[in-house]
Symmetry: C2
Subunit: 474 residues, 2 copies
């Protein structure tokens, strides 16, 4: 079959969400949710679901329809095919929502990084650390590299700084006639500094989809391009997302996994003091996905909001832990420290590779019991043991079981987490699509950087620095 196409007649497996570990029956009334608490929330949950679908019907939530954009998908696959002929390394320059999506897709679905299999190496450079960025530029063969500069606004300081550095090196290496062949600019179709540069210099560009925020863009061409370059089955990914869409638009909250998750998180936070949301994949491949979720959660839910006439600050802190490694790092705190966390496990049934532990040393009890298990079995036993240990200490847990780490299953999870975040935001009464706090930092950076019009901010920083007291510096 041609690339990206596969037999869909066989039924694809669904991920499962197990909420037993947050119930009063499992962990007691102090930290656990009661049937009546859930029941009381149901009308609000149902309203949140139907409001979201109503907004969608009005065209206000295009991220929900990304799995169905046939034209955009075909164009992305075609662009990937073309780039595959032109480069060996594809470097995405972006930050935040412009970077974590591509990194999650690449890291989760093509964890070998695409080396040595006739694929393209995909690098996501999301920082301006001079040492790391210099190392990267030094090791690249610029002749076989394409840089994809991604910023929706076209004004993101970090990404523009990367662009300027890279552009100069390309100019030096290839001259004014040829340098543009190594650049692909993804930015707003009509506005921003970068769009102006694209127009002035005739650079090759793609449009950042309108009305889709960075952290809800993972299923858009912005990030799918990296996946397609790595030969990820993009069609299966989107089919998985569509399958989850069908489950998450169900009006009845009890049958809607995103609604159940949102309700549980809201009740844990507001009624049971659970202020930290841990995501703990028992699979190295799911760690980049967890990092993507961390941004989705923090920016969507971490907000100031007017309530009862006062401004209150809300938002569970997202924390990523990795099973089994962090059993020897974080679990001591999760078990014995404050009862302020809900741990969501990502459990994988089929890890792909099968590595058997040989049966050896029958006379050494501390070793013998390991023989005959596979590493995958052991990893899943560790997950179960950790889950039960937390339950016994009345710490809430959620377990999401993935049949495997395939594009179809991972597509479900991305979509589920996006809808969950939006519905949780609705329950808290916050706008999950905004990030007003970023603006406060940005203005100070403009001031320090000497951008005209931000002289007051510069003076403010200097005043603050002068006011620091030496006796508090050791």
């Amino acid at each position: 079959m041609p690339r990206g196409v596969r037999d869909r007649r066989k039924r694809e497996p669904d991920l499962r969400v197990d909420l037993n570990g947050v119930t009063e029956g499992a962990i007691g009334a102090e930290t656990g949710i009661s049937a009546s608490e859930l029941e009381a929330l149901k009308p609000r949950l149902a309203a949140a679901v139907s409001d979201l679908q109503a907004e969608r019907a009005q065209g206000l939530r295009p991220f929900l329809d990304l799995p169905y954009q046939r034209d955009a998908i075909e164009q992305t696959l075609a662009l990937a095919e073309r780039l595959r002929g032109e480069c060996e390394t594809f470097v995405l320059l972006g930050i935040g929502g412009s970077a974590v999506g591509a990194r999650a897709l690449a890291g989760t679905l093509a964890p070998d990084g695409g080396h040595g299999r006739g694929r393209i190496e995909v690098v996501v450079a999301d920082n301006i650390d001079p040492s790391a960025f210099d190392d990267l530029l030094e090791r690249l063969d610029l002749r076989r590299t394409v840089f994809n500069v991604v910023t929706k606004s076209g004004e993101t300081a970090e990404t523009l700084a990367q662009f300027l550095v890279v552009r100069e090196r390309l100019l030096r290496e290839f001259g004014a006639e040829e340098y543009a062949r190594h650049l692909l600019i993804t930015t707003d179709a009509g506005s921003g500094a970068l769009r102006q540069i694209v127009n002035d210099e005739g650079l090759f560009s793609a449009d950042y989809p309108a009305s889709v925020g960075g952290r809800f863009s993972i299923l858009s061409p912005v990030h799918l391009l990296a996946a397609a370059l790595l030969d990820v089955d993009v069609e299966a990914l989107l089919a998985g997302a569509a399958a989850m869409d069908a489950r998450c638009r169900v009006a009845e909250p009890d049958a809607n996994p995103a609604a159940q998750l949102a309700g549980v998180r809201y009740l844990l936070d507001t009624l049971h003091g659970i202020q930290t949301a841990v995501l703990m994949p028992y699979s190295e491949r799911l760690v980049p996905l967890a990092q993507w979720w961390r941004q989705l959660w923090a920016e969507s839910i971490g907000k100031r909001v007017e309530r009862d006439g006062a401004v209150v600050s809300i938002g569970q802190t997202p924390v990523v832990a990795v099973g089994a490694s962090d059993q020897h790092s974080q679990i001591q705190l999760f078990l014995h420290g404050p009862a302020d966390k809900v741990v969501t496990f990502l459990r994988v049934e089929d890890h792909g590779a099968r590595v058997e532990v040989p049966q050896t040393y029958p006379d050494i009890a501390d070793v013998a019991y390991l023989g005959g298990h596979t590493l995958g079995d052991l990893l899943n036993m560790e997950q179960q043991a950790t889950e039960l240990a937390l339950v016994k200490r009345s710490r809430p847990t959620i377990t999401i079981t993935l049949p495997d780490v395939s594009p179809h299953v991972v597509g479900q999870l991305f979509y589920l987490m996006e809808v969950e975040a939006v519905l949780t935001g609705a329950l808290f009464g916050v706008d999950p699509y905004s990030q007003p706090g970023i603006e406060e930092t940005k203005r100070l950076i403009f001031g320090l950087g000497g951008k005209p019009g931000f002289e007051d901010e510069r003076a403010e920083v200097e005043r603050w620095l002068r006011g620091k007291q030496p006796r508090f510096v050791l």
Copy 2:
């Protein structure tokens, strides 16, 4: 000069700890610490410092003296020299405190991973993910690989499983006569299953230092070996730690940076509701160091403790954020979400590489201001802007300034963080050296794994699984 030796006549720079951002004067009385709060704590802080040094004098805290173990250091350097002739890849098999130290040293001080410069590649494999472990074993040239199996107890399930898998592959590849040449076992000198195997099979081994817990072992040969293999200046690292030791044994708390940090964290937690400790390096190289700290903090402080006749659960949750990337991921939450976090910045003055942003596009205001700065300048401006934005929102911050990311400076930081954790534990009244919660999970794993003597635990897990209610599974 020979490897590992350098001119020490020039004065090495010290890191600085800036506590202005936690004071009432900077952020107000609700979240900020007052002079009287600090003053009231002083006697307890002074006692914690002198108690620790008294325990040390009794030989109870050997981790504090690791910078001065001449013989052990020479042996480690000699072993590294020998291994350098025998292998190209050094794979550390370990988990938790047996792994994060080596990873922090390698990642922070040899971030290029030692590729392509005549050095050895160091891999730290700290998980039993079958897919990742299989990929690793597949890509290795076993003929040029040495596996270092590290477990203090000699009974860690994950590490033993890795060992059994690797041992079988080595036996298959090299036969019973030769396989042992590819193994180095680091475990307790006298006890444990692995020590028994070492003795039975005559494997090459090193002793895990007695009475040094995993998370306080970073300056011991267990982890220094990886650093030495990567040509890190181990002597400078330890000299830096020794310099910090001199600062952290000062009896007067006002002049002791570890004591000040511990006091501040304790007061923020107990008087101002600050339950989350964010560490935010503005340097990619310091991220592995931050991951090491995350384990140190969680396991040392996350404890149940008797207080006023009741058992209370304490411990700030450690969170790692990365500047500048996480400004576009976590800062929205840190600024507008709950005021429950203290953000500790790691700021680097000299990033090593100098990458200048060229002056271009003078007519495009959103781009022009970036020209003429270096990436390092921009990164440090972003740190300052983020710090001030948090201060303006009354969120506590601490800034640790590193003159550079050299072994001498990083050695200071490791030592400072260890002493800070121990003193914080003392203020909270917990034992910072234990991790009793881990035991609870371990017994359940033994049960699931079928280890004799843990049949009750197995039955308990099975009972719990049967009791899960299908209606809570979606």
